[in-house]
Amino acid sequence: MKKKIYLDYAATTPVSSEVFKAMKPYFSHDYGNPSEPHSWGQKTRAAIDKAREQVAVFLGAQPQEIIFTSGATEAINLAHKGLVESRKKADFLPHIITSSIEHKAVLETCLHLEKLKMAEVTYLPVNENGLVQIVDLEKAIKLNTILVSIIYVNNETGVIQPIAEIGEKLKKINIERQVLGQSKVYFHTDATQAIQYFNCQVDSLGVDCLSLSGHKFYAPKGVGVLYLRKGISLTRQQDGGGQEYRLRAGTENVPFIVALGQALEIVGKQNPEINKVMEKLRDQLIAGVLQIKSTQLIGAGAKRSPHIASFLIDGAEGEAMLLLLSEKGIAVSSGSACTSGLLEPSHVLRAMGILPEKAHGSLRFSLGNQTKEEEIKEVIKVLPEVISSLRRMAPDLSDFKLK
């Protein structure tokens, strides 16, 4: 059987052997509840402390600013809902500014807050390259704005937002607001896709909250982090015991927390050259795909992460391409309606002004630390036939009139 080719690292990554080794003892050997003062508990408490330190070092933060969660989705829910709940008053409706290309974790959280009349939300548009415009952001700020939440690297397109620039801008705005006695505007970024490739030091980004997820960088699924800058009050969303500085109740998931700490330490130590190596592979893939007639790179005019390349393929539907590639042992992803389970084409592509009939033909490749040049070459060899077989199957729509 032919070797399988996994190009869906933006969806999830395998747990690395080093990380797996680090977490293993905490299942059946060192299993004490870290809240207990006996030696079993002390051992796992120490393990969590170490992981918290590892995360803090990676983010350039203090250990007490690190909250372990079940993933980025929970971290995002906690940051947005927690901030809003702690500030909402009978005569004060908090305002959130976010973008129209956020992950569903942010968008659905904001919609939920709107529905409950807990907050009002502005969804910033993006340009055709998927970039948020800072002028739009500035204009959207109001007296009651408490939070700006912008994704660092978009998961569908790989387009990088100018997080440090936004952080800088908000710093200036907050100085003015302080003089005028207005409330501070906090800054959250969903850094889920950025961790391995970009600077995530919270001070140089100027962020107050940052969410991340372990399974995007070779730790297991089911563990994440919310970085919350010291001094920011937040109402916890999961009630119970006093774990995680009383901000996230529930017995800590020790092995997974250990794994996340270990995985982040590995990312922190990795050679910065790996970005260049991956970029080269990605560019090879892009060049190969664009050889195929009527294809287009999404977000071509913006700076993009080295691990993601997304395309629009005319005359072939995304899920059908995905299935045929899967038959050939290649795993990719698509933003087509049919892969979403919601029958709506990707909101990210739609926000970029891509028409739905085009968005149905989207295909995302995402690279990881195991990706090899031979694999890219194989994909470039296989893809044209997959696309042309689907195009041959499709009706000629040149005379088709939309009703």
Binding site: G315, A316, E317, G318, E319, A320, L323, L324, S326, E327, S336, A337, C338, T339, G341, L343, P345, L355, P356, E357, H360, L390, R392, M393, A394, P395, D396, L397, F400, L402, K403
Partner: protein, 132 residues
């Protein structure tokens, strides 16, 4: 969710090797359903033959732009109606198409509706052109 949980083996088989793809020149009946904005467009062509006072579907072909379920349901419906009388063919429901494929995930049932609609409309188109 792995693909096999999402789609039955039969569906994947039809996606990989769809039956009766293509176009019939000068068809007796033809219909296009769906819409590129929604992501699925199906076009069905019929060739009808009269034998012993009955009208049979002598040949049927399809063209589809769409997801796996759209391809599989259109492919399956062509195999179900080939050689059938128009009356028999008309009775084929979207559920019958889905069942013949070993079931479809709930969110994909609309694809079988689209396939059944294409068949109904192609037959209606045949009857209408015959009247003229």
């Amino acid at each position: 969710m792995t693909i096999s949980q999402l789609y039955s083996k039969k569906v994947l088989e039809h996606v990989k090797k769809p039956r009766n793809i293509g176009e019939i020149k000068n068809p007796d009946g033809m219909a296009t359903v769906g819409n590129p904005v929604c992501g699925d467009v199906m076009r069905l062509f019929l060739k009808v033959e009269k034998k012993d006072g009955q009208e049979y579907i002598k040949n049927v072909k399809f063209q589809t732009l769409g997801c796996g379920a759209a391809i599989a349901t259109s492919s399956m419906i062509t195999t179900l109606v080939k050689g059938k009388t128009l009356e028999e063919a008309e009775k084929i429901s979207n559920q019958a198409v889905a069942e013949a494929l070993g079931g479809l995930p709930p969110v994909k049932m609309h694809c079988s509706v689209l396939a059944a609609e294409a068949l109904q409309k192609a037959i209606a188109n045949y009857r209408q052109t015959k009247k003229k």
